[in-house]
């Protein structure tokens, strides 16, 4: 496969999560239900993106190392 699919998913979740988190906290304000909802869900998306990104990048590195290692 050309790249580990977890990497773009992680990137998307991080980008969208940060947008929601920032918008909820900075523009709507955490005192409003709309602000809290955006911030909480955005935060969860960021968290998911980080976890997925960690495993995706780790798998990518292993694939690259495997590809460079000559067969025994």
């Amino acid at each position: 496969m050309p790249l580990d699919v977890r990497v773009p998913i992680s990137g998307l979740f991080l980008a969208v999560g940060l947008l929601l988190l920032g918008y909820g906290a900075a523009f709507e304000g955490l005192g409003t239900s709309a602000g809290r909802l955006n911030a909480i869900w955005g935060g969860l998306m960021v968290l998911f993106g980080l976890v997925l990104g960690y495993y995706g990048v780790r798998a990518e590195r292993r694939t690259r190392v495997g590809a460079r290692t000559p067969a025994a």
């Binding site: 496969m1 969208v16 947008l19």
Partner: protein, 586 residues
């Protein structure tokens, strides 16, 4: 456009979320295009996809707008009985295709379902299936496109035609660039986004109506107002003894045979759109695991896609909120059914819920989830269409011995052609008030007889090519005759049936579709058997690897795998969990 729906403007953050999504989707297509060098890369993703990726793509390709918006509409119209599409229909069929059919598809090295039919039967059977499948994918894709155009129109007040073309353009770009690999990558990405966009809606809305108990109480009130028993919208099985006692208007036999057996097995076992994802897996064992991996999220989808529709209906019918607008006639007056109740525009149930519950920001995410479902469904159909067109029509009948580069070019051209045809099909879908109904009708015409052909072809070695072809033609004709002689209650003769006359009226479009499918299946099976018995069978040696009794059993080395990776263990877990869900929502 119904004036009862409030057009809500989006904020900058909503547009930003959509823009980020488009950037990633197109970016994936751009990155993947570097790996597409041959027609095998373009049409089969090089057969190197890990099982879990193919599994999520398998379920996501089916998670089009017709699933998200259509199942929401069906949830509003029929209640929890809509979950039968999953717990009686999809899951058992997915287990069957994993354990019994993937070995044939993968092992025969056929590149498509029609090609398998050529290997098992003959050229004309393949041509018939390729043609009908091409029509079906175009229709399915058109339904997805229509749903999304309607959504843009509802949410943004955009022109429906312009929004359909814009969204189709993005799908066209990434499927043309990266073929099946690009579609699979984006399907997995879209799957995650759909869950992220719809899950908070379900949590918020369910909390708002007082949990399942609160929803049940509201739906009991709504049911009483429509002459149904109080629990008919919240019990999946209890009221299926009598068609007049449940909103689907069907009894358990019609449901089990029409949906549980013919339509579902017909779709999941023979539809190249989903089978193509499993065939892209990296090994035969991985291919068998693909539908089973997909079954785990699939069995939980009713919570994600049906519940929003049920809640929208509960709030609308009890007057708590006007979430599902009525359909309007030419004079902009609400259409009324035979009982004098307004005919609701159920397709708007889920989008209206997004508008009602989500603030800006989250609304952008919810809208993006719907966009993702549209694109994933459309890309699934388009990639299946371009493969069948190129391999089974163009290469077989127009230019058999061209270079691989030429077929790669034709595949990309077919992608463009498929998108253009889908746009035409989108306009046909407008005349139905529930897009899931039109799709099930198309399946009844195409997949139902095809399943009889496959079942007989795989498990009865006496079946012949002449029998299969005659059966398919007769089955499709049988579906047309049944549909042409019946109508759903309250419908006028035309696209909904009754064009040959009127022999019977069904309580709902879904009930009519179930029996159309049963008729198509039975006609195909009987004709295939009769013609096979009077025509010459193929020599047994030619059927090795194509017929169950002539194929070595696979999975003999499954015991070497960890228990959680063994297909049979996964199948038992999936079926047990599904049985429990049926009992819980009995």
């Amino acid at each position: 456009m119904s004036p009862a729906v409030e057009v809500r403007g989006l904020a900058g953050v909503d547009y930003a979320v959509i823009a980020v999504y488009f950037a990633f989707v197109l970016g994936v297509g751009w990155v993947v295009r570097r790996t597409v060098h041959t027609s095998k890369d373009f049409f089969e993703a090089g057969r190197r996809t890990p099982a879990w990726v193919a599994g999520l793509a398998f379920v996501s390709a089916n998670l089009g707008a017709q699933e998200v918006i259509g199942m929401g509409a069906s949830g509003a119209k029929y209640g929890i009985a809509t979950a039968h599409f999953y717990w009686v229909g999809a899951i058992p069929a997915m287990v069957f295709v994993a354990l019994f059919m993937m070995p044939f598809y993968y092992g025969s090295r056929a590149r498509s379902v029609p090609e398998y039919l050529r290997l098992r039967f003959d050229e004309k059977t393949r041509a018939f299936n390729a043609g009908s499948f091409a029509v079906m994918t175009v229709f399915s894709s058109g339904v997805s496109m229509y749903a999304m155009g309607k959504l843009f129109n509802l949410l943004l007040g955009w022109d429906m035609d312009a929004s359909m073309l814009a969204a189709a353009g993005v799908v066209l770009a990434y499927t043309t660039l990266g073929g099946l690999t690009s579609a699979i990558y984006n399907e997995v990405l879209q799957f995650c986004l759909i869950v992220a966009g719809l899950l908070p809606l379900v949590i918020l809305a369910l909390h708002n109506v007082g949990g399942w108990d609160g929803l049940s109480a509201r739906l009991a009130e709504a049911a009483a107002g429509r002459g149904f028993p109080p629990g008919s919208y919240t019990h999946a099985w209890k009221y299926l003894g009598d068609p007049s006692q449940n909103p689907v208007g069907v009894e358990w036999l019609g449901l089990l045979m029409g949906l549980g057996f013919v339509l579902s097995f017909g779709y999941w076992c023979t539809d190249f759109l989903v089978v193509q994802r499993a065939m892209s897996a990296e090994s035969p064992t991985a291919a068998r695991r693909v539908p089973l991996i997909a079954a785990f999220p699939k069995m939980l989808f009713p919570a994600l896609v049906i519940l929003p529709g049920m809640i929208a209906f509960a709030l609308t019918a009890t007057g708590a909120a006007s979430l599902i607008p009525p359909k309007l006639d030419a004079a902009l007056q609400p259409l009324l059914d035979a009982r004098g109740l307004p005919v609701l525009d159920y397709d708007l149930a889920t989008p209206s819920m997004l508008l009602h519950y989500f603030p800006n920001g989250m609304l952008g995410l919810g809208l993006t989830a719907l966009l993702a479902s549209f694109m994933s469904g459309m890309a699934g159909n388009v990639t299946a269409f371009n493969t069948v067109f190129t391999y089974d029509l163009y290469q077989s009948y127009i230019r058999p011995r061209a270079s691989d580069a030429h077929y790669l070019w034709v595949g990309r051209a077919a992608t463009i052609g498929g998108v253009l045809l889908s746009i035409g099909a989108a306009y046909v879908a407008r005349s139905f008030n529930n897009i899931m109904d039109v799709l099930q009708l198309v399946f009844a015409f195409v997949n139902a007889p095809l399943f009889a052909t496959f079942a007989l072809g795989m498990f009865w070695r006496r079946s012949t090519g002449h029998g299969a072809f005659s059966g398919l033609a007769a089955g499709t004709l049988g579906a047309a005759v049944h549909h042409g002689l019946t109508l759903p209650a309250g419908a006028a003769p035309g696209v909904k049936g009754g064009y040959f006359g009127l022999l019977h009226t069904f309580p709902s479009e879904l009930a009519q579709t179930f029996w159309t499918a049963i008729t198509a299946f039975a006609t195909c099976a009987v004709v295939t058997i009769l013609i096979s018995l009077i025509t010459r069978p193929r020599p047994v040696d030619e059927l090795r690897g194509l017929v169950y009794s002539m194929t070595p059993r696979v999975g003999g080395d499954d015991y070497l795998l960890p228990w959680y990776a063994r297909p049979k263990v996964l199948a038992v877990i999936v079926l047990t969990a599904t049985l429990i869900l049926n009992i819980v929502f009995w």
